[in-house]
């Protein structure tokens, strides 16, 4: 039996994973995955200052203040990129460590006043989340972070559902979106605001770095499995949930960090998909290449036979032994191709002599026309 604490922790991690996977999918598609890394680090000074003011990590004021830092980071990166003194990736790589450092120094200097541990900010630990209860009129309604994350997840879902068409257009064809008057910049900033809010709300459970795993991993995994945006969102939510649950139990088994185990499971699902995805997976691609080799060779064979068919030299040319010379195939390879072609009912074989079937002739003619 699971204890109530275990159920609550799993619920929290599931909600965090879903809230991250939704906007993260768009980061993957918009080639801005590293923005999540930048934002999740750069919000630290915002969190520290917010905490200084509210003394409550789940306070909406803190979440807003820190989210503003996230959006400012995005703007700062854009300003720096616009000076044309840096490439965008260098601008990202400059801005977030500096902001993060400011946060760390703030924590170190006001350590006495701020009960905030840098390790906790960086790493997060959902195991502590159930201790902070949401109590109204003496009634315990469950862990507070479940409500906070739930609200953020709902916000993300509503945003995506409400602006689905606009988001889709701005993501796949920003130029057209601008031409049609959809203001892709507005959508960009709205998305960045959501990413910031999500990162702030989630850092307490999973920390600044693992937020990146939950935002990018599920989206990238889904990207290997489908070409449709709707499916991609659905799959990434499922991958996020699966990582949350399996991560919890992995951590339970090893008595290790839950957040770290969730990220590990994200990696596991991504790696599995990388190998096994039906169309975009690496094994599928390998098989496709192999099959293409056979298909190509069969076509070569039928064209060769068709060329000489019915001519005087056919007796000489259309023999297995001759393929080695004419198509420069190894003799073993030639025999296997002929075997294949026989199985596919493209050629018939009499002793060493090869003759096309009607089907083989069609394939050859069709190939010649196509190419």
């Amino acid at each position: 039996m699971m204890t109530q604490g275990q159920i609550e922790i799993q619920l929290i991690t599931i909600v965090v994973a879903v809230a991250c996977a939704l906007p993260g999918t768009f980061l993957v598609l918009r080639k801005m995955a590293m923005m999540s890394d930048a934002i999740s680090h750069a919000i630290l000074p915002g969190i520290v200052i917010g905490f200084f003011l509210t003394h409550d990590l789940n306070s909406p004021i803190l979440i807003l203040a820190a989210s503003v830092t996230g959006v400012l980071t995005v703007m700062l990166v854009e300003v720096l990129t616009k000076t044309r003194l840096f490439k965008e990736d260098a601008a990202i790589g400059l801005v977030f460590p500096i902001l993060f450092s400011i946060g760390v120094v703030l924590i170190a200097r006001f350590a006495g006043d701020v009960h905030l541990d840098t390790d906790a900010v960086l790493l997060g630990e959902p195991a502590f989340a159930p201790f902070d209860r949401f109590v109204i009129a003496d009634r315990d309604l469950g862990p507070r972070s479940l409500y906070v994350m739930g609200a953020v997840g709902l916000l993300n879902a509503l945003f995506i559902a409400g602006l689905y068409k606009e988001l889709k257009l701005a993501t796949f064809d920003a130029g057209l979106a601008a031409a049609l008057g959809f203001a892709p910049m507005m959508i960009h900033y709205a998305l960045m605001t959501l990413i910031s809010i999500t990162a702030v709300a989630a850092f307490d459970a999973v920390g600044a770095i693992l937020v990146v795993a939950l935002m990018i991993g599920p989206g990238a995994t889904a990207y290997l499995l489908t070409d449709r945006l709707g499916w991609m969102l659905g799959i990434s939510v499922l991958v996020g949930m699966a990582s949350a649950i399996s991560g919890f139990w992995l951590a339970h088994m090893l008595d290790a960090s839950i957040a770290g185990a969730m990220a590990t499971m994200v990696g596991f699902f991504f790696t599995g998909t990388y190998f096994l995805a039906p169309r975009h997976g690496v094994i599928a691609a390998m098989l496709r290449r192999r099959r293409n080799k056979w298909v190509f060779a069969e076509k070569m064979l039928t064209i060769h036979l068709l060329n000489h068919e019915g001519l005087a030299e056919a007796e000489q040319e259309n023999r297995i032994a001759h393929l080695e010379e004419h198509l420069s195939w190894e003799s073993a390879f030639a025999r296997r191709i002929v075997k294949h072609a026989q199985d596919d009912d493209l050629v018939r074989r009499f002793d060493g002599y090869l003759e096309l079937t009607e089907q083989g002739r069609d394939l050859a003619r069709q190939t010649i026309v196509e190419t």
Binding site: H41, L94, A108
Partner: protein, 373 residues
Amino acid sequence: MEIFQQLFTDYTLRMVAMGSATLGIVSGSLGTYAVLRGQSLLGDAISHAALPGIAIAFLLTGSKTPIVLMAGAAAAGWLATLLIMSVTQTTRIKYDSMLGITLSVFFGVGLVLLTFIQRRPEATQAGLDTFLFGQAAALVRQDVITMAALGGAALILMVIFWKELKLLSFDPEFGRTIGFPIRRLDILLTTLLVIAIVIGLQTVGVVLMSAMVVAPASAGRQWTDRLGVMVVISAALGAVAGVSGAVVSSTMRSMPTGPTIVLCMGVIVLISILLAPNRGIIWRRIRDRRNARRLRIEAVLMNLYALGLQHADPQHPHEEAVLDVMSSESGSAVPALNRLQEQGLVVRSGATQWSLTQKGLMLADRLRKERGG
């Protein structure tokens, strides 16, 4: 001045300063290539990915000797880079997604391992989690020697393969055409970057190490357009940031070394983008303003010339008021006319009339031809 004295007498401060300087030089030099090749964030992935390597090295050997942990970190960082390269080459996954996944998943695995080590009964992990933010104050002589030896080796390799790495950075396609083993050079350069990152983990930690790769080179880039000069400047700036970070963190209360070095680096970048000649923002402002003024003055000259073309005598004098109207968008023409007079291009005739001098006429003629009028 006392601080300079301390730099020579205080053992800890000296070690921290020397370690940070070494780190700044090595990561500044090799970061140059990362920044130029658009791989600024690769360092971030490598440094985060080093964490599980450190944990595994400890689990396997039970040793906390820096060189052992560094070897683990390097192996993991290297593996991460190869993964990023091969996944982006074999599937539709984009480079940025792969960076994000690699850094966060490796870090997550590292965290699982660290907490696993920590919670075992014989918990002796103390010292491993310092790799998160680094612990420069704990640097001893042996650490600095290790850093200098590894970093020095990396820099020597960089110098030996100077020409090849330059080609790799600026025109890999051309390099491939003329028969350079571009892929192997890519792996070599990545390996050097991994070394630069690994030697810094103890000092600034996995989280901030990427800044040491990106920041010195980004600052150095502003001062020059030449690779050799950029490497030297970036190394020097990295060293300056390292030493000043070490000094500031030792003189001020509660300033952790790693973040302080990064902040010093931030100041250096800011100064560079403002002041660097040619590329710097202030320089660019001044140049733009000067150009705008020159164009305004030339416009008045050309107006006077255009008016002159209406007459048989191109040097026919014209009313100031007319010129004012013609250049109305940039205010009165009088300041420009005065400048032109100083240069001997126009001359005042009468109280409110101006005409071109012979020299002014020739210049205007030439300008018109240049502009294809």
